[in-house]
């Protein structure tokens, strides 16, 4: 009985990682996996339901308003979602962790300036900041990443700051300093490895949020521009046909749901493992 329970539990633990892996494989090998060119239009085969067949080829998840294969667009869309999320997590994480660690270790006026800056950024509604920035920079893949990094770095800064404060007071940091280690060496070698756990938890949870943000921006027309397939823009156009062609919006919506859910579950697992750092 306990054996079966344990199996059940470990399956629950592993499926989010498995799902994430599947999506990553989809994104990387989209060219070989997608049955059709995602941008290839077929105006005669518009808005066909899942399972529709044309010229001996099956549109497994149906076709959209321009006759493009929904499954192919979904597979290519995973690229945008994962890449934008990964890049923005890396960029905002790098900026946030640098700022937070500098503030937490150097203290003094540097701490005051940096952490007040963090407070200011946290008090601006993220979506508003994103819309303004896109309005200035213009939409597009790189800009979406920049916008997301700009709005999300304070979260990492907060965590890195608190953790750095805690670790910097530990005796081994004083010992390292007593050997003449420079601040940079102390931060990179002695403090960063000791705070990386909580930061990973934040990064994983942020990853899910970034996927949603990107979809949101694309939904609003501020993200990746057509015809590039993205789950957010698929949702956006699919919305117009929801009554007659539910599959156009439903499948990207479900894919988003699964990706964000698995990212969050992985984050929670991490958090449980290391005793949480949020």
């Amino acid at each position: 009985m306990t054996g079966r329970g344990a199996t059940f539990k470990s399956t629950l633990t592993w499926w989010p990682a498995g799902l994430l892996l599947v999506l990553v494989i989809c994104a990387v090998f989209a060219y070989w996996l997608a049955p059709f060119d995602p941008d290839r239009q077929n105006l005669l085969g518009r808005l066909k339901p899942p399972g529709f067949e044309a010229r001996g080829k099956v549109f497994l998840l149906g076709s959209d308003e321009l006759g493009r294969d929904v499954l192919s667009r979904l597979i290519y869309g995973a690229r945008v979602s994962l890449l934008v999320a990964a890049l923005s997590v890396l960029l905002s994480g790098f900026v946030g962790v640098t700022v937070g660690m500098a503030a937490g270790y150097l203290r003094g006026w540097i701490e005051t300036i940096l952490m007040r800056l963090v407070d200011i950024f946290l008090s601006i509604p993220a979506i508003l900041l994103a819309i303004i920035t896109v309005a200035v920079l213009g939409p597009g893949f790189i800009n979406v990443v920049l916008v997301l990094a700009l709005t999300r770095w304070p979260r990492y800064a907060r965590v890195a700051y608190g953790q750095t404060l805690a670790i910097a007071g530990r005796p081994f940091v004083t010992l390292a300093r007593s050997m003449g280690a420079s601040p940079l060496r102390v931060l990179a070698l002695h403090i960063l490895p000791n705070i990386v756990g909580p930061l990973l938890v934040v990064a994983t949870l942020e990853f899910g949020l970034m996927v949603l943000f990107e979809a949101g921006l694309s939904f609003l027309g501020l993200g990746v521009q057509p015809p590039t397939a993205s789950w957010g823009s698929m949702l956006s156009t699919g919305r117009n046909y929801i009554a007659t062609a539910w599959w156009i919006a439903m499948f990207p919506g479900f894919a988003l749901f699964l990706l964000v859910l698995s990212a969050n579950l992985i984050g929670d697992r991490f958090g449980d493992r290391i005793g949480d750092g949020r």
Binding site: R107, P171, F172, R177, S178, M179, G180, A181, L189, N194
Partner: protein, 317 residues
């Protein structure tokens, strides 16, 4: 020859004076014990020498020189050049003083790497050699282990190895044996004394354990309430303490050459916190012979054996 000279050092936190006019010197190769209860300013004095005072703590006045180098006015880069080269420090908590995620061999090699005194390969070899010297069995495989895999005594040996690898002229040992059990304490003291004779390193030994003082020190400096109250050669201090505080500290030790007199002596009360320090002699609140004269501040008097008391005790009681 004087190696470390501390002149009239005062440290404060805001308007709270924590160390008040400490004058102390350590000769080359000499072991000087800095003794006193918790809160008497021993560790702050040591951290001032290292230039590692915490946030909000500042050196108000005084000078610290190591050889020819002036430490009290030194820039951060000069200080970090000296740390791990000329001065090294070991701490009280052996396990938490080592980075939990770095193999101990690398931590021993740290100061060589930091100062670019050896390539990674040489540093590793020297670290293993040093671990062997401090009595760690199978140093090659131990060097790859993390601190959590070693016992407290082992970790203290690792820290000592890390301090001695740079062959510093001065080692500051902040309660090196306090966290260890008694048998290990003896081994660690023996090791430290062997290494100092071998390398000629001077030690500023911070402790509140008179037994450790007797074991290792050449000279003793007793601190109370941020001031030095008595200072002199270890034999003289043990045989003829002049300051009542020193005498009381010594009385807390059980003696093997006398019949036990029932309960062990304890100094009544606690060290008052800095804002409650009395003006004049700071020990007056716990002294057994205070008079009106003690409202004045006693100066250190004497030459080799100095003490700050208006009513010094004649001989050991």
């Amino acid at each position: 020859m004087t190696l470390l000279a501390i002149q009239d050092l005062s440290v404060r936190a805001g308007d709270l004076s924590l160390v008040d006019g400490v004058t102390l010197d350590v000769g080359a190769g000499e072991v000087v014990a800095l003794v006193g209860e918790s809160g008497s300013g021993k560790s702050l004095t040591a951290l001032s020498v290292m230039g590692l005072l915490g946030d909000g703590l500042t050196i108000e006045s005084g000078s610290i020189t190591l050889g020819e180098a002036n430490l009290s006015g030194a820039s951060a880069s000069v200080m970090s050049e000296l740390r791990g080269n000329e001065i090294a420090m070991i701490f009280q908590e052996p396990v938490s003083s080592l980075n939990p995620l770095v193999p101990v061999g690398a931590q021993v090699a740290e100061s060589l790497i930091v100062h670019g005194r050896a390539t990674a390969e040489e540093a590793k070899a020297q670290a293993i050699d040093m671990l062997r010297q401090v009595g760690i069995p199978e140093p090659e495989s131990r060097a790859r282990q993390l601190p959590a895999e070693l016992s407290g005594g082992m970790c203290q040996r690792v820290m000592i190895a890390a301090a001695f690898i740079s062959k510093p002229r001065l080692l500051i040992a902040d309660e090196p044996t306090t966290a260890l059990d008694v048998t290990i304490q003896a081994q660690i003291l023996e090791l430290m004394s062997a290494l100092t004779t071998e390398t000629g390193t001077a030690i500023l030994l911070i402790t509140h354990d008179m037994g450790v003082v007797a074991e290792l020190a050449d000279r003793v400096c007793v601190m109370y309430g941020g001031c030095v109250v008595e200072q002199g050669p270890v034999d003289t201090i043990f045989a003829k303490p002049r300051h009542p505080y020193t005498r009381m500290l010594l009385n807390t030790l059980p003696r093997l050459d006398e019949e036990p007199k029932g309960e062990l002596f304890a100094i009544p009360g606690n060290v008052p916190s800095p804002q409650d320090w009395p003006s004049g002699c700071r020990f007056q609140t716990r002294c057994d012979r205070p008079t009106a004269a003690c409202f004045e501040r006693p100066e250190l008097q004497g030459d080799a054996h100095r003490f700050a008391c208006f009513h010094p005790t004649g001989v050991a009681s």
